[in-house]
């Protein structure tokens, strides 16, 4: 069984006035790990259930392996599914749970046993086969749910936040296991989560959703490096990207209440602008932009430092240093590549053709140095 492609076209689902899924189109490539990512209530589960056939689409179509399955029942869609709650049958033991589908489909007993042995070994369930779900830990239950999906040997596997009930350590282990399993079996995986770290670490392709629409679809790298919207920029990364409002005077873009020019307009720009820069792209430098330290969160190796620049706040991820202390003024520097610009109203990313980031060290600093009043030292 190798994966097959899933394609959604202008897919829509509404309940009364609620638009849960608002005309989305995407492709989950064959054999790839696709993650649906978004905040609570954005329509991820609904999208997954539309693919599974557990909900009827209000409009639009779903194609699996090139065939329109929009009107077909779940069992004709070549899918297996792992539910968030696992949906294990409480009265059946592990073996019976895993074999449920094969029995329903009248697979011969000899073949059932052979497949069960293989799946149980693969998932490390061999000595738990007699147990009831209530006698298993969360991680074991999760593996049983996975086993039920794997044994079906369907080319598509759908998962709705399967790891959200597990503790941090187990979650990490299961992420690695799941990813390895998907690769090994060549499944087309569609995986729902609201945890961006999980999405980035597992996905071949991430589809970021918000309010029933797709904000951006792309590889984790592309989404991290080139967020298409301010929403994506804010949603991906811990801590999230700093988005600071800019004011414009002629060609110069500044933070209100602070002197340094951070960017220059080169073409037509909207009035409301948001400058985006990731906390990890900020560095201490003698030649940087001066900012006031307001709070420090110690993370061990790194610290998250909340700073004030004019009227705006930004967070920097800095290595532990003596001079970084609350109330002090420090100087931050970044590379021009790390700067993103978004339309403050629509949230859309603004093309580099219309603006240029200004290297803080070279142009403004010398002029600045005279004006800055250093904090107590």
């Amino acid at each position: 069984m190798t994966g097959v492609e899933i394609e959604a076209r202008a897919l829509r689902k509404s309940w009364g006035d609620t638009q849960a899924v608002d005309g989305i189109s995407f492709t989950a490539e064959a054999g790839k790990f696709t993650v649906l990512l978004g905040p609570s209530g954005c329509g991820k589960s609904t999208t997954l259930r539309l693919i599974a056939g557990l909900e009827q689409a209000t409009d639009g179509s779903i194609r699996i392996d090139g065939q329109d399955v929009t009107q077909r029942p779940p069992n004709e869609r070549q899918i297996a599914m792992v539910f968030q709650s696992y949906a294990l049958f409480p009265h059946l033991n592990v073996a019976e749970n895993i074999l449920f589908g094969l029995k329903v489909r009248r697979v011969p007993a000899a073949q059932r046993k052979e497949r069960l042995d293989r799946v149980a070994a693969l998932l490390g369930l061999s000595n738990l086969l007699e147990r009831r779900p209530a006698q298993l830990s969360g991680g074991q239950q999760q593996r049983v749910a996975l086993g039920r999906a794997v044994i079906a040997e369907k080319p598509i596997c759908l998962m709705d936040e399967p790891l959200s009930n597990l503790d941090a350590k187990l979650r990490h282990e299961m992420r690695v296991e799941l990813r390895a399993l998907q690769r090994k079996l060549g499944l087309t995986m569609v995986y729902v989560t609201h945890d961006q770290a999980e999405a980035i670490s597992m996905a071949d392709r991430i589809i970021v959703m918000n309010g029933g629409r797709i904000e951006q679809a792309g590889t984790p790298g592309a989404i991290y490096d080139q967020p298409a919207t301010a929403f994506t920029a804010r949603f991906i990364g811990t801590p999230p990207m700093n988005l600071i409002a800019l004011s414009r005077a002629g060609q110069s873009l500044r933070v209100p209440g602070a002197d340094p020019v951070l960017a220059e307009a080169r073409g037509a720009l909207p009035d409301n602008l948001l400058l985006g820069i990731r906390p990890e792209d900020l560095h201490l430098s003698d030649q940087g932009v001066p900012v006031q330290v307001e709070a420090i969160e110690y993370l061990g190796a790194d610290n998250l430092v909340d700073c004030r620049l004019g009227s705006q706040r930004l967070t920097a991820r800095l290595q532990h240093r003596q001079e970084v202390a609350e109330g002090r003024t420090i100087r931050l520097r970044w590379s021009t590549e790390a700067v993103h610009l978004f339309d403050g109203l629509s949230g859309a990313r603004l093309d580099k053709a219309s603006w240029r980031a200004v290297e803080p060290a070279t142009e403004s600093i010398n002029r600045m140095n005279a004006a800055v009043v250093d904090g107590p030292s």
Partner: protein
């Protein structure tokens, strides 16, 4: 010393409950057994120990055997039919049904009504000639039937009333149990391609087993205990054709005032119920999955 004080306190705290339990449950039960070995005091003749005479009489009492067989038939029909009906109604009402709140209430109504009232309603249904049933039959040109006067029909007629009364009550338990089953189980099964019947047989029904056990124990007890409608509708007649064990005990004790024989009958009823209840728990319990 301290341990002893605690021990006394413990017993003191238990005493009120124990007194009530003994006075109203254990003592009557024991005296009933005791009385069944004595004759009934009549006028000048005091009660005397007669050993197993009462039981000998019981074995030879053809009315007892008829009443017992009535009761067994009554149980044999009401229990499975009312449970099956309750389950079907619950499955139906649990689904996506328009106006299901109303349907639920309608099904539950017979349970809320006292059995005496229920019996009066059915008395009207069964009235020969102008009762509801005969009126409907009349529309099709069928002859009138004396449902409660015919010894061949009367037991069936009271059985119908009992089922009507009990099914709605049991439905509530099934409905509660059904709603406790996570809908994602149905979805998981549908992804595996399980149809409605397979899902019912392999998932719903096994998960309802604790409820079925509970309901069936209740049904067994009720089939020996609920006789109110016999009083209103038939008084056990005609010719004991609709008399049940408990009704016969009542008649013996409070109409013929044969208290010793009534005690004997009561002992038989108690033994019968105990065997049934214990047997049910032991036999069925093993196959029931509890969450």
């Amino acid at each position: 010393m301290l341990a002893r004080r605690e021990w006394i306190h413990g017993w003191l705290l238990l005493t009120p409950a124990l007194i009530l339990l003994f006075a109203f449950t254990h003592y009557p039960a024991v005296t009933t057994v005791w009385h069944s070995f004595f004759s009934t005091p009549r006028g000048q003749r005091p009660s005397t120990f007669v050993g197993l005479d009462n039981y000998d009489f019981l074995l030879a009492d053809s009315t007892f055997w008829q009443v017992l067989s009535n009761n067994l038939w009554y149980a044999l029909v009401t229990i499975p039919v009312s449970i099956a009906l309750a389950l079907m109604m619950a499955l139906w009402v649990d689904g996506k049904l328009r106006g299901r709140g109303f349907v639920r209430m309608a099904y539950f109504a017979p349970t809320v009504l006292p059995l005496i009232a229920v019996a009066n309603i059915w008395l009207f249904f069964y009235t020969p000639g102008f009762g509801l049933i005969d009126q409907v039959r009349g529309l099709f040109g069928l002859a009138e039937v004396n449902w409660l006067g015919n010894p061949d029909l009367v037991l069936g007629s009271v059985i119908v009333v009992a089922i009507w009364k009990e099914a709605g009550f049991f439905m509530i338990f099934y409905l509660a149990a059904l709603q406790a089953i996570s809908p994602s189980l149905r979805e998981a099964a549908s992804i595996e391609g399980a149809g409605r019947w397979t899902y019912f047989r392999r998932v719903t029904f096994p998960l309802l087993m604790p409820t079925t056990l509970f309901v069936s124990v209740n049904a067994v007890i009720n089939s020996f205990r609920l006789v109110d409608h016999i009083f209103v509708m038939t008084e056990g007649g005609p010719d004991n054709a609709s008399s049940l064990l408990l009704f016969y005990i009542y008649e013996t004790a409070f109409q013929y005032w044969d208290t010793a024989y009534a005690a004997t009958l009561t002992v038989v009823l108690l033994v019968l119920l105990s065997i049934l209840a214990i047997g049910q728990f032991f036999l069925v319990d093993r196959r029931v999955h509890y969450r």
